[in-house]
Symmetry: C2
Subunit: 453 residues, 2 copies
């Protein structure tokens, strides 16, 4: 990669536990040639110069008082192919939304040129929002899915890329033709990733049954076998919407419940990412916990298409692992920062019905977006925080400051700091009013992958 | 003002009823020297040139395909003095939030220099979000409140400016000293506005009892008298939070309910703006309807500080008039576009409990932000739409377009248009992902008051 040793000097913040945001006002984080964090120093002087042996020639990147380094965001659930529909869903709910908006859009990815245009924009756009890792759903198409892997690798975004599997209750114009083609096409996408990134340094294939209603028992079981054989992770949807849950009951009359459908097919393991989990029963939570499967909470989507409110506090207290997902385009925004906000806001709606303990704090929601997401994708030893030995997947956050005369400058960002704010208050201001304008640089594995001018 | 006749050529959209957004793809709107809309033409050619008598020398402002003119937003409830706290509220609810964050911040407006810095920024910032009319709460301080009126006038924002009245249950360091000082100070602010803008072309004073718990019976009645005498409008809070409602019951044991407190004091008239209305009883709705008082719905705030969900559909069906308010800083954002989004999202939470009819559409929420707000402030004949005879209070909205290669440009805005979208879909994309970057010009009464470069 040709990286040089780099030391990031200035304030940084990262989550050290669900409740605790560690804020270091005068830090220095050394990142080695492989993009790994070699040391983290605190209480360094403003004019810090490297003193450690072997670091004298290191590049130094400083951040001013009104900014801080923060771990890159992890989007644990995003449909790259639905991005052109972001914000378009009207008053629909899940099942009619799929037929009205989603399937027609996804089917157009048989055109590789259209796919290139959209996927290029999605990867650039999510990087600009500080998303350093994304779990993508592509479409059923092999060439377009492989192109998404290529683009992520080229632009340097860490990604899990899944070809969508769907062989029933899908429109004639957009579906897998058979169980055999489901598996063959999934294998083709896996082989492509193994070829372009053999160590899965950045790109990992992910086995992606769309959701139970879209898959026959046979294809679910065959995908379970593929998971067992390849050990690549699984992603799917579960318990998003009440009509969907009823449909699963009808389609799988022998299964105890929705979770059981995946469990019986061998698709519920410690490498499974389950999106939504809005209406899970206690029994389902318990089985998910036993299997070690993970949860992607998608609050913007759950509100936008009126699916319901996931009970995140309850899930956390049941010992489940939770991260955040934008769920574009059920979710309208490609920004995990928006999702952090929405996770907090949705938790307040839960609190209105279930009491104050349901509320997620800013710190907790940021944890879900970073460390939580890292655990969801099985990379908690590599990303999500600034610990020695982790990869430098990070964003530089810069906030605006209001001058004495109060006037606005050109190209003013969305966050106004008056300078009497504590550092914790500044983080809150960023969470509530910040956007991609505040994300001025983004790195993955030490490589600069986005910069604002 | 030295305005020249101007014709705005290109697509425009405005609400013609609660349900209907009128989209005109090829419009031409003529605005005369007084800032009034003189004509609205449709189906004009792209190379439109003025043909009407007297308009041959008019300035022409054209907007490209990826943009449209839209009425300026009306923020029917914003605390200008709380803006430095935007995004800072932690897990608090109304009554503790007031004591922890709000009163200390507001008290610092005894320093006029601080007030100038904050108010300058608030007016610039809200203009940049397309807010052409704002109903401001200032603080108890006369000089700072008058300064806010001055700044609005200078920057050209239409504003209702209220000195906050509070003579009980307020901290020693921040309160009115007596009923007499409440009235004298309110009069002083009214007189100031009468001096700087005698016709109230832009600035109108508004009588502002903070909320019932902050005011003695005597001051409420005296303010009711002042309203009757001056005929200036009234703004206050009502039924925001359950603990607040209990407190009002205790403090006003003889009143039938919260609404009755204001009604008995002569503060509930057709010129009254009531913020929140989250937990109103049917009886209260009915009295508000009878008196013709108006409602400011503040969804972001109601969620952020866990006040509850206002039942907007129910209020509308009861024949009440509703507009939107940011309620900075109970609300975290100075943007009415964010409030449009939040109104839709909160209505979905209401729908989860009360059924689908509760959902507000994009069109309905935009109506609340424009025509609805105009009715709330009593200016429905002047602002909120593009009807002949109305003032040109407008914003130019510009959306981004994704090039064939999909790559992002510098300073890319937040909305990606792929060009297969219908105009209505573009409006939805703006509502869900747009921000102040898309508001490229703003006019009030024909005067350009904000422009992005």
């Amino acid at each position: 990669m040709g990286l040089t040793k780099t030391i990031y000097v200035g304030p940084f913040a990262h989550c050290v536990s669900l409740q605790e945001l560690d804020i270091c006002v005068d830090g220095a984080i050394g990142v080695d040639e492989s993009g790994k964090i070699a040391f983290v120093e605190r209480d360094v002087p403003t004019d810090y110069e490297p003193s450690k042996e072997g670091w004298s020639g290191a590049e130094i990147i400083r951040i001013g008082d009104n900014g801080f380094f923060f771990p890159g965001f992890i989007d644990t659930h995003i449909h790259a192919s639905q991005y052109p529909n972001a914000g378009i869903f009207g008053n629909s709910t899940l099942l009619d939304w799929l037929n009205t908006y989603t399937f027609p859009m996804e089917s157009s990815f048989k055109d590789v040129n259209f796919a290139r245009r959209v996927y290029t924009r999605v990867v650039s756009r999510t990087l600009s929002h500080g998303t350093t890792t994304a779990c993508y759903y592509a479409t059923v198409h092999v060439p377009a899915t492989n192109l998404l892997s290529d683009i992520c690798l080229e632009k340097g975004q860490r990604a899990f890329v899944g070809r969508v599997c769907m062989d029933r209750l899908s429109p004639d114009y957009y579906r897998d033709e058979s169980v055999e083609s489901t598996i063959a096409d999934s294998r083709a996408c896996i082989e492509h990733v193994k070829k372009i990134d053999p160590q899965h340094a950045l790109i990992t294939p992910v086995i992606t049954p769309r959701f139970a209603p879209s898959c026959t028992d046979e294809s679910l079981c065959a995908l379970g076998e593929l998971h067992k054989e390849t050990q690549f992770p699984v992603q799917t949807h579960i318990s998003e919407n009440k009509a969907e849950i009823e449909l699963v009951k009808e389609l799988f009359p022998k299964s105890k419940h929705y979770t059981d459908v995946y469990d019986e097919a061998g698709l519920l393991t410690s490498k499974t990412i389950l999106a939504h989990c809005v209406h899970l029963s206690k029994d389902e939570q318990s089985i998910i916990k036993q299997r070690g499967a993970k949860i992607s909470h998608c609050p913007a989507s759950n509100t936008a298409i009126t699916s319901g409110t996931a009970k995140v506090r309850e899930l956390l207290e049941a010992g489940l692992t939770v991260g955040l997902g934008t769920d574009v385009s059920g979710g309208y925004s490609p920004s995990i920062l928006e999702e952090v906000r929405q996770a907090i806001l949705v938790s307040r709606h839960v609190a209105m019905d279930h009491g104050d303990p349901a509320k997620l704090s800013t710190e907790e929601s940021l944890y879900l977006a970073t460390r939580g997401g890292a655990r969801v994708v099985g990379l908690e030893d590599k990303i999500g925080g600034f610990d020695v030995g982790m990869d430098w997947d990070a964003q530089m956050i810069s906030l605006g400051s209001v001058p004495e005369d109060g006037e606005m400058g050109e190209l003013e960002g969305p966050v106004d700091i008056f300078l009497q704010e504590s550092f914790a208050d500044r983080v809150n201001k960023w969470v509530y009013n910040g956007d991609d304008r505040n994300t001025t640089s983004v790195w993955v594995k030490g490589r600069l992958v986005h910069r604002k001018n």
